[in-house]
């Protein structure tokens, strides 16, 4: 995923979703994974230079790891608050950056870990129990 590439934003989560549907997971579970991954993908597009999504699947759990290279998050606790956003005016005008991204990811995942280093980037790990 590339920062600033709003045209292709959403493709990765759509692809992951289609993979999970093919495997035959429960639709509600897939929805949670899709929403969380989409938010993560949007965060990379809005705030980072580039990023990757890693998907690990086994019959017990789905693990999604989103790693990005970017400015990082100085105060994670603040960033986790609903409504907090550093999105620019333009991004908001396009309907992104409502400050629901990280809280929404946390809400949809069964386990949620985030680490970030200012100036380097952010890693989000999410676990979804099947």
């Amino acid at each position: 995923m590339t920062g600033g590439d709003f045209v292709n934003a959403g493709l990765v989560s759509t692809e992951i979703k289609s993979l999970l549907k093919t495997i035959g997971f429960d639709p509600t579970l897939i929805r949670r994974v899709a929403i969380a991954t989409y938010e993560g993908e949007m965060n990379v597009v809005m705030h980072a230079r580039r990023g990757t999504v890693q998907l690990l699947v086994n019959p017990q759990a789905i693990l999604v790891t989103i790693t990005d290279e970017g400015s990082g998050i100085p105060d994670i606790e603040l960033a986790m608050q609903e409504g907090y956003s550093t999105a620019t005016e333009e991004m908001r005008a396009m309907g992104f950056g409502s400050g629901m991204g990280l809280p929404n990811m946390k809400k949809n995942a069964d386990d949620f870990f985030i680490t970030s280093e200012v100036g380097k980037g952010t890693v989000v790990r999410m676990k979804f129990i099947v």
Partner: protein, 406 residues
């Protein structure tokens, strides 16, 4: 081959020179019919002549029919022509359209659940949701559609009025698409359709046209009866939302665009939208696979007809609320997901097979040439894993194998 590439759900494979359609995946959008130069794909539809078994024949045309003959043809001329063709009664859907639009507005007003709701009148879109977006079935508005409500009311009133047994009265629909025909023959949301049959507009057009021309010659506006109503209905995208919706709405047409919007809904991206009107055909039903007129021309015709001939029927809001309370307008059954079990096995084996699919896919050229009979290299890899294709069906892998190492 064109049909195979065009299919939005990759339901088609070409094996031994013949197109095979997976019933499980097909959503009846008809794109393959439009794409096939040979007309090899034959849909199920009735012919007008089969209706002779009924003592009394009523016909309900899709409003798209009125847009097939040009803006100077008053819709009532089409009614006269259909009668000359042998139908005893022509019933317009506009009364049901108006009632259902009001019912929908009411329903949206009081609805509290997950959003956005999705319109229910394009059966191909419904099939698409059942097959590809099982998580979205709960968003489908559970209200029945104008054609069925119209037929239901005829079925209730006609036999008594005519003094005939119910089975002597035939009610048929003139359809713009295979999806609506399938929805009448194998409905997803009720035991049995209120129609006895469905004829494709393109099949009735050639026999109807001479009667339209003749009826026009004799026609004078004063012939139109006082209780006649006309409205082009929901034949073009956006018409329903214009009719019904006070909420934040979105109208989308064309199956690829519909799928993009459904993906957005699944990702919960469309947060501020309350209602989505989704139609499988470009521009809505006027772009249906069974119409004759070019959809752009048809749209222009509809706009002209809207200006000239619209005669709205009165909507009795109190009656609609009463019927909503009685659940008269609701589907008999909820629409349920029809998930396709690609691998039809437990999750663990599925995961193994997905990995195997990936391994095979990496060996392929990934140019989606289609020569193997599958629409994409990934679909071919999947077919192989399911045991439905041989690796040597791929012309590139076959070459590698037959090249004798020296």
């Amino acid at each position: 081959m064109a049909c195979m590439r065009r299919c939005p759900t990759q339901a088609i494979r070409v094996r031994h020179g013949r197109a095979q359609i997976s019933e499980e995946l097909c959503v009846d959008c008809g794109l393959c019919l439009s794409a096939c130069p040979e007309g090899a794909v034959v849909p199920m539809a009735d012919q007008v002549t089969e209706m002779s078994r009924f003592a009394y024949k009523a016909v309900v045309p899709s409003p798209v029919l009125y847009a097939q003959f040009g803006p100077d043809i008053h819709p009532y001329i089409v009614h006269l022509a259909l009668r000359e063709l042998g139908f005893d009664e022509v019933a317009d859907v506009s009364a049901s359209t108006a009632a259902l639009a009001a019912a929908l507005a009411k329903y949206l007003e009081t609805y509290q659940g997950r959003r956005p709701l999705i319109s229910s009148h394009c059966p191909s879109t419904l099939r698409l949701i059942q097959v590809k977006y099982p998580d979205l079935v709960e968003l489908i508005v559970p209200l029945d559609v104008p054609r069925e409500v119209t037929a239901r009311e005829l079925r209730r009133s006609l036999p008594a009025k005519l003094g005939l047994a119910p089975e002597q009265v035939g009610i048929i629909y003139l359809a713009p698409c295979p999806a609506k025909i399938v929805s009448i023959k194998q409905p997803a949301e009720k035991e049995k359709s209120y129609f006895d049959g469905a004829v494709a507009i393109r099949d009735v057009y050639p026999v109807l046209l001479p009667h339209v021309v003749a009826a026009k010659r004799r026609f004078a506006e004063s012939q139109v009866p006082g209780d006649y109503t006309f409205d082009p209905g929901w034949a073009t995208t956006g018409a329903l939302t214009r009719f019904a919706s006070s909420a934040n709405w979105l109208a989308v047409a064309g199956i690829d665009q519909v799928m993009r919007i459904f993906d957005d809904i699944e990702n919960s991206k469309l947060r501020n939208v309350d209602f989505v009107e989704a139609m499988a055909c470009m521009m809505g039903c006027i772009g249906g696979p069974f119409v004759v007129e070019n959809p752009y021309v048809a749209r222009a015709t509809i706009e002209r007809q809207r200006e000239r001939y619209v005669r709205q029927c009165d909507v009795d809001f109190a009656e609609i609320e009463r019927r909503l309370r009685q659940r008269y307008y609701f589907f008999e059954h909820p629409i349920l997901p029809r998930p396709t079990r690609y691998f039809d096995t437990d999750i663990e084996t599925s995961i193994k097979r997905i990995k195997e699919r990936e391994r095979v896919y990496q060996k392929l050229r990934q140019i989606d040439c289609g020569c193997c009979g599958a629409p994409t290299c990934l679909a071919f890899a999947e077919d192989f894993v399911r045991g439905e294709a041989e690796l040597t069906d791929c012309i590139f892998l076959r070459q590698q194998e037959t090249r004798v190492p020296s």
